[in-house]
């Protein structure tokens, strides 16, 4: 699979799904028949964490795709930076630098999604020990 296709599948699609989740779970759009008010337990996971996970996945996949074929230590270092960025975004909310409510579950979901995506995306070409 080319980098472009990987990016479409693992970066653009998760971001689109995350945006869609906001529309479906949080908006007044009438197309969703199971009104969120009627679904008292399930939506909190979908409403509060799905988009964060999708964002984290897209970030991890983006870095992984850019550094596809690069030496393992360098690629791992950049993935580590991406994980720090993901965690940092949530911590900045705690520090009230970014607007929003700090949520430890979001922190785990976002960082976890970055690491999971980075270690999954790229198939057999993902880790090499020598420079290309």
């Amino acid at each position: 699979m080319t980098r472009g296709k990987l990016a479409a599948k693992h970066v653009a699609l998760p971001l689109a799904l995350g945006a869609l989740s906001y529309l479906v779970w949080r908006s007044a759009l009438p197309f969703w028949p199971s009104h969120v008010a009627l679904w008292k337990s399930a939506p909190s996971v979908l409403r509060d964490h799905f988009a964060d996970g999708a964002w984290g996945w897209a970030l991890g996949a983006f870095v992984s795709i850019v550094w596809l074929g690069e030496r393992t230590p360098r690629r791992a270092a950049w993935i580590g930076v991406a994980a720090l960025v993901a965690g940092g975004v949530e911590c900045l909310q705690y520090a009230h630098v970014l607007r929003g409510a700090f949520d430890p579950v979001d922190l785990v979901v976002q960082v976890g999604a970055v690491v999971l995506a980075a270690s999954t995306v790229g198939g057999t070409r993902k880790w090499i020990s020598a420079p290309v």
Partner: protein, 269 residues
């Protein structure tokens, strides 16, 4: 700096901006501060202001459901300030959902004179605006769950929603009013802007659009006769093009409270 590094840094900046942007649009943070020493000084008035920043928070005993729950029975009779949106609404009670990631909900009784204010509470999570503040008096907990229940004392930050103007021969123009009237609505005529969902041989699900919708149940089953099939075909099945459909409310289902109705006609605008 090589190309890859530049692209990575640029991409990361984009992701951070995206995250910051989405927080601005959707996250409504809730405070976790608790005031436990001062008793409530709230009155069940009907005053309301459209701008939440205008009026400071009233003094209440609690500001989160969790804090009230942690006090157990001691919390009964005390007041709670929350930012909310509303779900199922009937003539005397409403399910209020707490805005923000902390979440939670509770069932609240309200007096008839606060109906216009209750109706003004958004029936979905506000995307950009503020959730209105309400003050509740905790009265106990639900019979079979740990969820608290209460009485509504004050609704802030909203303008009372006036009664709808009804066309001649029509009793309702919104699901909200139908839900609020409950079984009293049986036999009455509603004209709702709606689109057609799942359609069967003699029945379709109608989804009210925009202001015709409301808190809680937001669809209605519409039965139709064989000679009304052409009329049904004319009703849009897209949420983007809703049409005023006149229905006669017949029965309300026992457990789901969903309304069954009979198609009367489609009004062309």
């Amino acid at each position: 700096m090589d190309k890859r590094t530049g692209l990575t840094l640029l991409g990361m900046a984009g992701f951070v901006l995206l995250a910051a942007g989405s927080q601005r649009r959707t996250s409504i943070s809730t405070t976790t501060t608790v005031t436990t020493s001062t008793p409530a000084t709230v009155t069940p008035t009907a005053s309301a202001k459209p701008d939440p920043e205008d009026e400071p928070d009233p003094t209440t005993d609690y500001k989160t459901i969790d804090d009230a729950k942690l006090d157990g029975k001691k919390s009964y009779g005390k007041t709670l300030l929350l930012k909310v949106w509303r779900g199922s609404t009937d003539a005397s009670s409403v399910t209020l959902f707490v805005c923000g990631k902390v979440g939670g909900f509770l069932s609240v009784k309200y007096p008839v004179e606060q109906r216009a204010l209750v109706k003004a509470i958004p029936s979905t999570i506000p995307m950009q605006g503020h959730c209105p503040r309400v003050v509740l008096k905790i009265t106990g907990k639900e019979a079979y769950t740990d969820d608290l229940k209460g009485d509504l004392q004050k609704v802030m930050d909203v303008t009372p929603k006036e009664a709808e103007t009804l066309p001649p021969g029509v009793d309702y123009v919104s699901m909200d009013d139908i839900n609020i009237d409950g079984k009293k609505a049986a036999g009455k005529i509603a004209q709702l802007k709606m689109y057609r969902g799942s359609t069967e041989e003699s029945k379709f699900t109608g989804y009210p659009c925009g202001s015709a919708g409301g808190g809680g149940l937001n669809f209605v089953y519409v039965n139709f006769t064989a000679d009304q099939k052409d009329m049904v075909k004319d009703i849009s099945s897209s949420a983007l093009t809703c049409e005023p459909v006149k229905i006669k409310l017949t029965t309300q289902q026992a457990y789901t409270s969903t309304w069954n109705s009979q198609l009367v006609g489609v009004t062309k605008e």
